[in-house]
Amino acid sequence: MPLITRRTALTTSAAGLGLGLSGCSKILFADKLTASSDFQHVLARGEAWTLASQRFLLSGGALAREYSPADISPKFKPNGTLYPGGEDYEDAVNEDFVSWRLKVDGMVARPLSLSLPELRALPARTQITRHDCVEGWSAIGQWTGVPVGLLLKAAGPFPQAKYAVFHCADNLEGEPAKGGEQAPGQYYESLALVDAVHPQTLIAYGMNGRPLDVAHGAPLRLRVERQLGYKQAKYIQRIQLTDRLSGLYGGKGGYWEDRGYEWYAGI
């Protein structure tokens, strides 16, 4: 006998199609699972495995690929804050950032406060690297700045310091929600010290051979080339060394981290 009749085939296909059309998330109760904090806890194991495996693979301090000048994006898409609000920043722009200071403090032996000319006088690194946004796009730019490792060495972190927290001048108030509700907040980011002292991690003041422009983070921004775009904090005023992230802002170590994104953004 035929193994299958046309009727059975059609009924089964129709049932399958109906199941599919009712929604992929519905079949798996994916929306209910997403809303459950227990399940989010399970999913968070993935981030821990990714962090552990990339820490292992990158333990030799491998560098991110550097590109040639011909690869530089003709237009580097600015994202996030394009112009920080507030009188203080407005004044800083008008006076060409002459009184802008970068502070390095917290768990350090010698707190620093550096002006832009002082930063420019320090040994600099220039690199042409790819910026990968968490959304999926990429742009290539040339960055010039002071390696964060150099600043930390000068400040002398205490042995118990584990993170470098980067405090920014921009408030992402009014940024449209990505999915759920999104509270306004001061932008900030944080890195484990192993990433902060990586040779390609810079406090950059130059982009494509010119001073950094406002949309791209003037006067100072972070470059962490082995992580995603949201780690590359702009408008940096202060680097704080600390042993925990829990007391700061939302407690997850960054503006987007406080809104559900991974703290380790190597993937």
Binding site: P2, I4, E47
Partner: protein, 297 residues
């Protein structure tokens, strides 16, 4: 509904039960990894489409953003009668309202590339979709590694999947059999036919490419293995290939499920759960086609 193919009189099922030989077709490990893989790939596609929605454009090369030229875009644009979903592939613009770009979800018109009913989670949330995607990516890799390792050691891959020279020569006949919806019976049904072998090996290749192009999108992994960027021609090329391979996997799933349905869904699904497969008896091969021609709707 016209011609019914079931031409066997009522006594047939009873007779068939006596005749049917049952073989142990799928080992426990194949069954376990099959279902885990099916669940995982389903989740990877759903969460992947949600991630895609965060930037519904594809590029070729190292870089690409809205300020460059994508070769594929799914946009919502304002039309005279509300927003329209426009899918652009190269120079071709298609109105895909209702499915891509603009779709209705519970009476609400939503402007996003892939519709809510296809994505995991159903609402647009890049952070949550990434959590799903990267957790199940680990499951996919671990499950695939167990299957491949066992498949090599037990010679399952060599014996059951790798086509022999004779298999390859039978491709034209097998294609014809498949088109005529004729499925192997008797001895021939005890082993995978050549198209099955090629399809399963193709799936292994596609999933491997998914993993490699996925890793190429990771700035951390790129620092460890920069050769991946050269292999795929850049991060944005890798992202596009990731999407093409996912489309290939969707095509595999459609064909796979169709074949399961056509070959006898109960026997096939049962064999992937219990391992036991009732071999279709030899002499029933002929009446598979109705005399008027192929049973196409």
């Amino acid at each position: 509904m016209s011609a019914e193919i079931d031409v066997i009189p009522h006594i047939a099922p009873k007779a068939a039960r006596v005749r049917r030989e049952v073989i142990y077709r799928h080992t426990f490990l194949v069954r376990l990894t099959h279902w885990l893989n099916a669940l995982t790939i389903f989740i990877m596609i759903g969460s992947g489409l949600n991630i895609f929605n965060a930037h519904p454009h594809l590029y070729w090369g190292q870089k690409g953003s809205e300020l460059d030229r994508p070769f594929l875009s799914i946009d919502a644009v304002d039309g005279a009668r509300g927003p329209r979903g426009i899918t652009t592939i190269g120079p071709v613009k298609l109105d895909t309202t209702g499915f891509l770009g603009v779709a209705t979800d519970h009476g609400q018109v939503l402007q996003k590339a892939w519709p809510s009913w296809l994505t995991i989670p159903s609402n647009q949330d890049l952070a949550d979709a990434r959590h799903w995607h990267f957790f199940f990516a680990w499951i996919l890799v671990a499950n695939g590694a167990v299957y491949l390792l066992w498949g090599l050691l037990s010679r399952h891959l060599k014996r059951d999947l790798w086509p022999t020279w004779r298999d390859l020569k039978s491709i034209p006949r097998s294609v014809l059999d498949h088109i005529r919806l004729r499925h192997p019976t008797g001895e021939a049904a005890k082993r995978y036919n050549v198209l099955q072998r090629l399809a399963y090996l193709g799936l292994i290749a596609l999933v491997s490419l998914m993993v490699l192009t996925g890793l190429t999108m990771s700035p951390g992994f790129d620092a460890f293995a920069p050769w991946l960027l050269d292999l795929f021609g850049g991060r944005q090329s890798a992202r596009s290939i990731h999407f093409f391979c996912a489309s290939g996997i969707v095509a595999f799933i459609v064909v796979h499920l169709t074949e399961v349905v056509l070959a006898g869904p109960i026997n096939e699904v049962k064999s992937m759960i219990t391992g036991r497969y009732a071999v279709p008896p030899e002499h029933d091969r002929e009446p598979a086609l109705s005399p008027e021609g192929p049973p196409c709707p």
